[in-house]
Symmetry: C2
Subunit: 342 residues, 2 copies
């Protein structure tokens, strides 16, 4: 490939159209207020012919506007993140904003690097599913541009928060499991580790337990250590098969790991063992029986973030202090926790 063929510039357009650079610029920015039809047409023709496109970098340098928004998530592959990214991408594309996608891998250092790089990149706003290790930095950034914390809550001044009602929906699911007839609900989670969603879901579970006069039972796993799953399941294997219990996992990824192992136990679902998970991965309805889940309104979350930012960006009205939006998840009961069935 023959690289670096000189790109067409506004100057060439101006020359060829026989007008000044400024006039072309005005034309491009639709400042037609007073511009002869002939000029317009002439410029249009040349733009067409040269297939000229203004250099976004140059435009940005002048006005400090990059027309770029960044989204920073823990893992680009998580269904939750994918869904958020899709929503943002769709809306921003319509508004002629570009979307920069970054991934922290739950690593605070990496997150810091990313945020600094975004600053250098002159992005106009940031949506971030934060690790919680850079709250101060995020606060500073939020003084310069819109920052939206999504999914996880942290004390960051000037940032907008968009979260779901984790405590309530977790409690609702747990309560339903007890009401359905499970004597015991075993909650399987990762180390909370400062992550607000994990803390909230756990709290919701615990609240429901105490409300139902039940003892909480926790199973701890680490997704990066398969042995933690194995030993949890080994414990379960030793149980008497008399009282039916339910397994409730704190997110879909845990269930994804755990499920094959649970299956190998040979316990009948849902009669001997109920199965439920937070998150509603697209495979939940493919399992036999289909899996009870808490479905988060991911598309709405993404859309809300996008609209918030667009609002902030055009209306220069700057709502000081932090805003917080809570969206509601839905409990989807399926056969995997239905004790009434045959």
């Amino acid at each position: 490939m023959t690289m670096r063929e000189k790109r067409v510039t506004i100057e060439q357009v101006a020359n060829q159209a026989g007008v000044s650079i400024a006039t072309v610029s005005n034309y491009l920015n639709r400042k037609y207020s007073s511009m002869s039809e002939t000029t317009k047409e002439r410029i249009a023709a040349v733009v067409q012919q040269l297939s000229y496109r203004p250099n976004v970098l140059a435009q940005g340098l002048k006005g400090n506007k990059s027309r770029t928004i960044a989204v920073v998530v823990v893992n680009i592959g998580y269904p939750f993140c994918v869904s958020i990214i899709r929503a943002l991408s769709t809306i921003f594309a319509q508004q002629d904003y570009r979307l920069l996608v970054c991934e922290t891998g739950e690593d605070g250092e990496r997150e810091k690097k990313i945020l600094e790089s975004l600053l250098a990149q002159q992005v106009e706003a940031i949506v971030v599913q934060a690790t919680g290790e850079n709250n101060r930095l995020l606060g500073q950034i939020a003084q310069q541009m819109p920052v939206v914390l999504v999914d996880r809550e942290y004390p960051v001044s000037n940032a907008t928060q968009v979260v779901t009602n984790n405590v309530e929906s977790s409690a609702a699911l747990t309560g339903t499991l007890f009401d359905t007839g499970y004597e015991e609900v075993i909650y399987v989670t990762e180390n909370v580790n400062g992550v607000s969603t994990r803390a909230s879901r756990l709290a919701g579970y615990q609240r429901a337990c105490s409300e139902h006069g039940k003892q909480p039972t926790l199973g701890w796993v680490d997704r990066h250590q398969p042995s933690t799953f194995a030993s949890l399941v080994a414990q379960l294997a030793n149980r008497r098969a008399t009282t039916p219990f339910a397994i409730y996992t704190a997110n879909g990824l845990i269930m994804q790991e755990l499920y094959p192992l649970l299956n190998a136990l040979g316990r009948k679902v849902p009669m001997e063992m109920g199965l439920a998970t937070f998150d509603n991965p697209d495979w939940a309805k493919l399992l036999t029986p289909p899996l009870t889940a808490v479905s988060q309104p991911t598309t709405e979350i993404g859309e809300f973030c996008a609209h918030t930012i667009i609002g902030l960006l055009k209306g220069e009205n700057t709502p000081s202090g932090s805003q917080k939006k809570v969206l509601d998840s839905t409990v989807l009961l399926q056969a995997s926790t239905d004790l009434r069935q045959v």
Copy 2:
């Protein structure tokens, strides 16, 4: 939030450090060849103190380098695309390149807009899972920067192609199903519609049929029209249960839609009905029984694209003409097509 606080510029750093702008620039670009320790230290201190970060837009304007790569996929949510994006993102992040993610939704017009916008954005390279409707435009772009066509093959001059051996792996899977003992393999696909992967997988299926002296049976569905799935399954319901047949879907998304309907038929899998799919979605192993699948080396594909681009970008050695790389998929046999089992 108090927007638009003046950002720190190189000039302020220079002033405060008592040196010239050029010296700061040299320092930033590690052109230490001859620079006194004191100067270095002084600049370092000021950079630190002001937490200065060079404006990427300005840097880019000068050298026409945006340090941005774009990836254009059909759908950000498809597991195949997610996997590619992740690989690209990881590698480019390491090299301090940013990744712009765009989505065409299989729409040629939208793809065209995106490509033009990327051109304006001065991206340095493009990875694209193309629709096939902008081959000429892609060819032109490929004269200015590296263009990698991924997944789908089209006649685009100067572009690198990265694909998998769709024909062979599809034939291999089909052949295995026949060998296993299924009298008939029903291939379920979407309209080929000019998409090379669909054509190849279909061709592979047909080849295997003829090699085994079997009649091909095609089921056509449209993912945007649920009724097509329903009517396909209705046909299957009328079959006598005597001869075992297998269903082989052209991709994971089709299987995802089809599976619940097939399940409702009540046919025993794998004895009365075998199930297999192209793609290896992460839920394949969660089904009962686990699903036979053709696993594409998505991570390798992404990595190959990334390395190709990085090579092209630094080594200005310009390999003229198109290159083509074929990576091999793997057939993963699971219980869903295992007729030997009890």
